[in-house]
Amino acid sequence: MNSMLERLSKEFRVTDITERHPGLTTLTADKDVAETLLRELRDREGYTHLNFMTAIDYIERGVFTLVYMLHNYATKSTLSVHVNIDRVNAEMTSIHTLWAQAWTYQRELRELWGINFPGSPRVEEDFCLEGWEEIPPMRREFDTVEYCERTFTSREGRGTVNPREHMAEIIFPNRGGDK
């Protein structure tokens, strides 16, 4: 395991190697070597199982972190490969030729995050949504509550009172700290 990680950090310049719990290691790879790295891991290191791939929106850093979770059945170890890509015109090499379910994930990422995977089959098709006109909903700047209020209607007649403010109003309207 360690020798493999050493080799990877030498050959693929992977960084941030962290063991999260026994059997789960995370590392960060550059965007341009990511596909080669995944292929290498699958073919030479026995990480034959793609658990899933997904993205995390680090809006404060201006990147999407793509997460490829790979599993090696023989050594029972899981490797989480992180790849940071730009949020603007987000695009990533497709890995649909490595794993058959990858293109489904890529469709989802394309739809819910707006990350493009050129060459991935049916990537332009609707996946979960239909006729979506807003920014991709999984992006952090998409405000789901605001969207709901704008689009859907809730039942009227609701409304709550804050106990603390209510008591202040009833019991000590002129007291307490200056407002």
Binding site: C128, L129, E130, G131, T144, V145
Partner: protein
């Protein structure tokens, strides 16, 4: 609710392409007229009440409790409830909880395909006021904005016991002639359509007739 303001006799079917226009009727829906003789109408209602055929469309989590309902333990067949595979044969539409916008489109389509008299039961909290998914961008919050609902059963999920009791209640309501949801749909058709089109962004289907 607002009454239909439109005086147009036909529907625009604007969502359809030119070649599809000919494939679908553009007639507006018509309201159900009860039989003029009360005894006949009562008899018809008695018949309707005793054969509640449910559309087999599990729109949300509520479908999970329909299975016990329809099998040996709760055996809804006893009270005339049966599942039908197609909307054309079904008279009761059970909305199983939340419905996403994508499903709403199919719900509208299925509901409009159903022959009258037809009744809608909404299960759970989500069709009432959004329920768990009150802040979800992809589920509607109030079903009664989009199709008329005759009976609400609360719970998450409502148990099969309540479904049996609810079906009995629906029977009672039908016998008393109190289920006029379908007529409400006709009367406020434009209002419902406007609501539906507000959330269903990709409207590539006819406005009413299939």
């Amino acid at each position: 609710m607002i009454k239909s303001l439109s005086t147009d006799a036909t529907l625009a079917n604007a969502g359809l392409s030119a070649e599809e226009q000919d494939l679908f009727s553009n007639a507006r829906p018509t309201a159900y007229e009860p039989y003029s003789i009360k005894a006949v109408e009562d008899f018809a209602n008695w018949c309707r009440a005793n054969s509640l055929w449910i559309l087999a469309f599990g729109t949300g989590c509520g479908a999970i409790e329909l299975r016990p309902l329809m099998t040996a333990r709760f055996d809804a067949n006893r009270i005339g409830v049966a599942g039908r595979p197609t909307p054309r044969q079904a008279s009761v539409f059970i909305i199983g909880g939340y419905s996403s916008v994508k499903t709403l489109k199919r719900i509208v389509r299925s509901y409009e395909q159903m022959q009258g008299p037809k009744f809608v039961i909404a299960l759970g909290i989500c069709p009432v006021n959004g329920g768990m998914y009150w802040d979800s961008y992809n589920t509607i919050k109030r079903l009664d904005q989009y199709i008329p609902v005759d009976l609400y059963i609360t719970g998450c999920m409502p148990r099969p016991e309540v479904l049996v009791a609810g079906a009995l209640e629906l029977k009672k309501m039908i016998k008393e002639g109190r289920c006029d949801g379908a007529n409400r749909y006709v009367e406020n058709f434009d209002w419902y359509k406007a609501n539906q089109k507000k959330v269903i962004k990709k409207w590539d289907m006819p406005d009413y007739n299939w």
